[in-house]
Amino acid sequence: MEDEKFYELIDVYRNPPNKGKLEDFDVSEEGYSSTCSDRFTVYIKFDGNKIKKSSFDGVGCVISTISASRLCDALVGKTAEEAQSMTIEDIKKLIGVDQISISRTKCATIALETVKNALSKDHMKA
């Protein structure tokens, strides 16, 4: 990642869209990684079988925070199955980088993993 890119991201990081608990949500899940010292909660609201809105809350680094923030936008309109099929490749596109180093993979995927866990909860399978 180039300096300019980091500078652009840090700006978003300090005021990330979709941060804060949704007042009305159907499912939420906490995700954390002690090595990253990241901790996020995601909130998801459905409209029928499609995600209507989602948000996140918590503390993390630039990569984890921005991937969480932008993932929340990307989830809108998706079914749970469609969200489950998302991968790190989708996250890279959301952040706008070609490569994520192995030591930052966890940062990039913590929000997505948490969303997937949220959507795997028993009551979701009904």
Partner: protein, 404 residues
């Protein structure tokens, strides 16, 4: 002051010539693992090219040489900390050493283990797990100067079976008065364990002077290879441990109706051991001994002081370490407004390797320092003032550009 010849020392560490992101590597992640001198690297190659065989079991020449190499390594490590060879149990690392004690010490319901808030998870989680069988776990508090509440050790109750404490904190660099803690534990009839993973690589450590029953440390943090660690168990204390892992070479006689176990240390070294690792650790100990642990400690304390003096002028940087009266080697910090991972990432772009995150000491960082992680620079004998200068310069630029 006896100074070590750091330029000569650096020539022994090939990795220090590496370039990282077009900058000469500055390796400041020594509390995580140390780099290895060519004496250790070449020695391990020599072992595999000349000595390799399964020791203890077979009687052929190579097996005898391999056994000899393993025994020699044990003797070297014993001499290094003023122990007897029988008191040196080889493990994988300090974590395994502490786990071994937690499994092998017959602690029961109503017993208390007294650990501290300053611990690495490796000296916390093995004890917390014993809660399942009714063992109580208490934590000695850490004050605002990163020091232990020593008065807690004056109030030990009879149910405290084990007092366990880190010698040097991997987050704040605090050096604890372990001699006093061990003395208090013994006065109370408690056993004492010291996590010396962050101290033995950096200072002279004498098990007879300290008097602890158990001392745990890792080879890879003291110029040795990965996968070899040590549990020192004082001869009398060894008897309080029951067998841990069972299998080959930890028994004298096996009948299905009756098993006669080996004596320590073999009792605690079931199965084929990491001979290469022990051999490499022996060479690392040779290397450290040749330079002299007092010299290393003096040099590192001086370099640490140099770093803290230079860091005083930094803006937008919060420092969490170095507050205690006695500390060394560790500089934990955050650039205000940046996550420690991002700070570490930006330093890495300049070739500077530091740790970030919780440092496996989450209760200390979250509950006491009230931080969602921290970045950490940790020094060793091959680091220089020039490296500290570059680190402070780069950290200063990052803090100026991104801090707030």
């Amino acid at each position: 002051m006896v100074m070590i010849n750091v330029e000569e020392i650096r020539k022994d560490f090939p990795i220090l010539n590496r370039e990282i992101n077009n900058n000469r590597l500055i390796y400041f992640d020594n509390a995580a693992t140390s780099q290895k001198p060519k004496q250790v690297i070449d020695g391990i190659k020599y072992f595999y090219e000349n000595i390799n065989a399964n020791p203890i079991r077979s009687i052929h020449t190579l097996a005898a040489e391999s056994t000899q190499a393993y025994n020699d390594a044990r003797e070297k490590v014993a001499r290094f900390i003023n122990a007897e060879p029988e008191e040196i149990i080889f493990t994988r690392n300090a974590t395994e050493s502490i786990n071994l004690v937690s499994f092998a010490l017959p602690l029961k319901q109503g017993d208390t283990v007294l650990t501290t808030y300053m611990e690495h998870h490796s000296n916390l989680l093995p004890w917390l797990r014993l809660k399942d069988r009714g063992v109580k776990v208490d934590l000695v508090n850490v004050d605002e100067n990163d020091e232990l509440d020593m008065s807690r050790y004056d109030e030990l109750t009879k149910d405290v079976r084990l007092v366990t404490v880190t010698h040097v904190s991997n987050v704040t660099g605090t050096i604890n008065d372990v001699d006093k803690i061990v003395r208090r534990a013994h006065e109370n009839g408690s056993l004492a364990l010291i996590d010396a993973a962050q101290s033995i690589p950096h200072m002279k450590f004498d098990v007879k002077k300290t008097g602890a029953d158990f001392v745990a440390f890792s080879g890879h943090k003291m110029l040795g290879p990965f996968g070899i660690g040590v549990l020192y168990a004082r001869k009398d204390a060894e008897k309080s441990l029951s067998p841990f892992l069972t299998g080959g070479e930890m028994i004298k006689d096996v009948k299905l109706s009756r098993i006669v176990y080996e004596n320590a240390p073999a009792l605690f070294e079931a199965g084929t051991q990491n001979i290469e690792g022990a051999y490499g650790l022996g060479l690392a100990v040779d290397y450290l001994s040749k330079i002299g642990m007092e010299n290393i400690e003096t040099y590192e304390k001086d370099l640490t002081q140099y770093l803290y003096n230079k860091a005083k002028g930094l803006k937008n940087v919060e420092v969490y370490s170095g507050k205690s009266r006695n500390f060394m080697g560790i500089f934990s910090f955050n650039v205000k407004g940046l996550h420690s991972h991002d700070t570490a990432y930006l330093l890495d772009k300049k070739g500077i390797a530091v740790r970030s995150g919780f440092h496996c000491a989450q209760p200390l960082i979250e509950d006491k320092l009230k931080q969602p992680g921290a970045a950490r620079a940790s020094l060793y004998l091959y680091n220089t003032r020039e490296e500290v200068d570059k680190f402070i310069d780069e950290l200063g630029s990052i803090a100026e550009k991104y801090g707030r």
